[in-house]
C-alpha cells in the first residue's frame, strides 16, 4: 500500500515536471525574437558554447574518424573491398557519429556549463534582480543561450564530420595503403548531399534544441543552493544524453528507411 502510494506520488511528480518543461518551452518561443534583435548577446554565448567546445570536438572527431577507418578496414579486408572504407567512414560520420557524438560532447561540455551558470545566477539572485528591473530573464538570459546552442552545435557537427573524414583518410590512405583515388571516389559515389549530409545536419539542429532546453530548464528550476546546482548539472548531462540517443533512433528510422 505504501509502495503504491509512493509510486503514485513519483509519477505525479514526473507529470508535474513534464508540464513545467512544456510551459518553459512555450515561454521561450516568443522570447527568441528578443534574442534576434539583441544579437550581440547571442554572439557572446556562441563563443561560450561553440568556440570553447572546439578543442574537444576537433580531438574527438579526429580519433573517431581514425578508429572508424581502422575497424572498417579490418572488416572490409576480409571481403577484399578495402577501397569502400572511405565511404563507410564518411557515411557513419555524417549520418550518425557526427551529430550524435558532437551532441553528447556538447551536452557534457556546454550544457552542463549553461545549467551551472544559470543555476548560479538564480542562487545569487541575479534572475530575481532582472525581474525587479522589469526585464524578463527568459528573454535576457534563456533565449540568447538557446539560440546560441542551435547555431553552435550544427557548426560543431560539421567540423566534427570534416575532421573525422580527414582522420579516416590519414589512417586508410596514409597508414593502411588504400588507394587515394578509390578512397575519395567511393566516398563521393555513396554519400548523397541531400539525403545524408542535410539529414545529418537536421539531426544536429534537433539535438541542439533539446540539449539547450534541458540545460536551461534545469538551471532555471534548480534549487538555489550549491547542492541543488550540482544536482541540476548532473541531471542535465544524463537527461540530454538519453534524449539525444533516443531521438537519434526516432530520427534515423524516419530519415533513412
Amino acid at each position: 500500500m505504501n509502495g503504491l502510494a509512493k509510486l503514485g506520488r513519483a509519477s505525479l511528480w514526473r507529470l508535474q515536471s513534464l508540464g513545467q518543461l512544456a510551459l518553459f518551452v512555450f515561454s521561450v518561443f516568443p522570447a527568441l525574437g528578443y534574442a534576434f534583435v539583441h544579437f550581440r548577446l547571442v554572439i557572446k554565448q556562441v563563443y561560450g558554447v561553440g568556440v570553447l567546445s572546439l578543442p574537444i570536438i576537433l580531438t574527438a572527431g579526429l580519433f573517431v574518424g581514425m578508429v572508424l577507418a581502422l575497424q572498417g578496414h579490418y572488416i572490409l579486408s576480409t571481403f577484399n573491398s578495402e577501397e569502400i572504407v572511405g565511404s563507410m567512414t564518411a557515411l557513419s560520420l555524417i549520418r550518425e557519429l557526427g551529430p550524435v557524438v558532437a551532441a553528447l560532447l556538447f551536452a557534457g561540455r556546454a550544457g552542463s556549463a549553461l545549467t551551472a551558470e544559470v543555476g548560479l545566477m538564480k542562487s545569487t539572485e541575479q534572475l530575481s534582480a532582472l525581474e525587479m528591473m522589469a526585464i524578463d530573464p527568459i528573454k535576457y538570459v534563456v533565449a540568447p543561450r538557446i539560440l546560441a546552442c542551435v547555431i553552435a552545435l550544427p557548426m560543431l557537427a560539421l567540423i566534427f564530420i570534416a575532421i573525422g573524414v580527414f582522420g579516416g583518410y590519414l589512417v586508410a590512405v596514409g597508414w593502411l595503403g588504400v588507394d587515394e583515388g578509390a578512397f575519395w571516389a567511393q566516398m563521393q559515389l555513396h554519400v548523397d548531399w541531400h539525403d545524408d549530409v542535410l539529414n545529418g545536419l537536421l539531426k544536429a539542429i534537433v539535438f541542439a534544441f533539446v540539449i539547450a532546453i534541458i540545460s536551461l530548464f534545469q538551471g532555471y528550476e534548480a534549487m538555489p543552493t550549491s547542492e541543488g546546482v550540482s544536482n541540476a548539472t548532473t541531471r542535465t548531462v544524463v537527461q540530454s544524453s538519453l534524449w539525444v540517443l533516443g531521438l537519434d533512433f526516432v530520427l534515423t528510422s524516419i530519415m533513412f528507411t
Binding site: 545566477m121 539572485e125 541575479q126 530575481s128 525587479m132 528591473m133 522589469a134
Partner: protein
C-alpha cells in the same frame, strides 16, 4: 499623508509551513519604514510578495492603489520600473562591468544617446562614491562596494520606492555606517519611499521613521522607533536587546531533553 503600499490580510505558505497568516500592514509614502524580525520570519518573502514575484494564497497587496497580483504582465513590469530593490548579495550581473550594470536598466527600457547614459550613470555612481570603479567587474568588488553599485543601479530609473533586503548583513562597521548614511541621504534628497528589511536593530532604528516587528506571520508591534523601544512586550524587548532566551525559544521544536533521556534508556526509537 497617504499610504503608498497597503497589505491586507495576506497569507502565504511554503510547503506545509505558514509564513504569513493574515498579515495586514501599511507603508507610508515618503518615509523610511523598517520591517524587522528574526531570520526565517519571511521578511525577504514579504518584499517579493510586494513586488509581485510571488503570489499569495489569499489577501492582496495594493501599491499606489493597484492590486499587484491582478495586474497583467506588462502592467506589472511598468509598475516595477517605479520600484527599486537592493538584494542581499547585490545581485549584480556578473558578466558586465560596474558601468554596464548601472546602465543596464536604462539601456533596456529607453533608447537614450550614449552620452546621456554615461552622464546619468556617472552621476549615480558619484552619489554612492564609486565613480572610480566604473571598469571593474563585480567579482573585483568587496561586498559593501557591490551593494553600493547595486544601489546606484536601483536608483538609475529614479524609482518612487526602494526596497532594501538585509542591507547590513555581513558588513564591517565602516561599510555599515556608509550604507546607513546613504539610505538616509537618498531618502531625503530623492523623496523616496523606502522599505528596509533587516534584523540589525540599531542601524535600522537609527534611520527608520516607522518600524514594525514580525513574528510567526503576524505583526506583533509597530510604531516609531521610540515607541517600540518603550514597548512592554516581552518579545519585542527580547528581539531589540538580543536576549538568547525568552518568548522566542532557543531550541527548534523538539521533545524535552529529560523526556528524551528517559526514552532512550528504554530503547532507541
Amino acid at each position: 499623508m497617504s499610504d503608498l503600499i497597503e497589505i491586507e490580510n495576506l497569507s502565504f505558505s511554503r510547503g506545509n509551513r505558514k509564513i504569513f497568516d493574515g498579515l495586514t500592514l501599511t507603508i507610508p509614502r515618503g518615509k523610511v519604514s523598517a520591517i524587522m524580525g528574526p531570520s526565517g520570519t519571511g521578511k525577504t518573502t514579504l518584499l517579493k510578495l510586494i513586488a509581485g514575484q510571488l503570489k499569495p494564497e489569499s489577501g492582496r497587496v495594493l501599491v499606489g492603489g493597484q492590486d499587484v497580483h491582478q495586474l497583467k504582465r506588462t502592467d506589472l513590469y511598468r509598475l516595477r520600473q517605479r520600484m527599486g530593490m537592493l538584494f542581499q548579495s547585490g545581485a549584480l550581473l556578473t558578466d558586465l562591468t560596474v558601468f554596464d550594470n548601472v546602465a543596464f536598466p536604462l539601456r533596456e527600457h529607453f533608447k537614450l544617446p550614449a552620452s546621456l547614459v554615461e552622464k546619468l550613470v556617472l552621476m549615480k555612481l558619484q552619489s554612492v562614491g564609486l565613480r572610480g570603479a566604473v571598469d571593474l567587474k563585480p567579482a573585483e568588488l568587496s561586498g559593501g562596494m557591490a551593494r553600493r553599485v547595486a544601489l546606484a543601479r536601483a536608483l538609475i530609473l529614479d524609482p518612487e520606492m526602494l526596497f532594501y533586503d538585509e542591507p547590513f548583513v555581513g558588513q564591517d562597521p565602516i561599510t555599515m555606517g556608509v550604507l546607513v548614511g546613504l539610505i538616509k541621504k537618498m531618502n531625503q534628497s530623492l523623496h523616496l519611499t523606502s522599505v528596509v528589511v533587516s534584523h540589525d536593530v540599531d542601524e535600522v532604528l537609527s534611520i527608520a521613521d516607522y518600524a514594525c516587528v514580525l513574528s510567526e506571520g503576524r505583526i506583533i508591534a509597530q510604531g516609531t522607533p521610540e515607541s517600540l523601544q518603550q514597548s512592554a512586550s516581552e518579545y519585542v524587548q527580547q528581539f531589540l536587546q538580543g536576549l538568547a532566551d525568552g518568548p522566542v525559544p532557543l531550541h527548534y521544536p523538539v521533545e524535552s531533553w529529560d523526556e528524551k533521556l528517559t526514552l532512550s534508556r528504554g530503547g532507541h526509537r
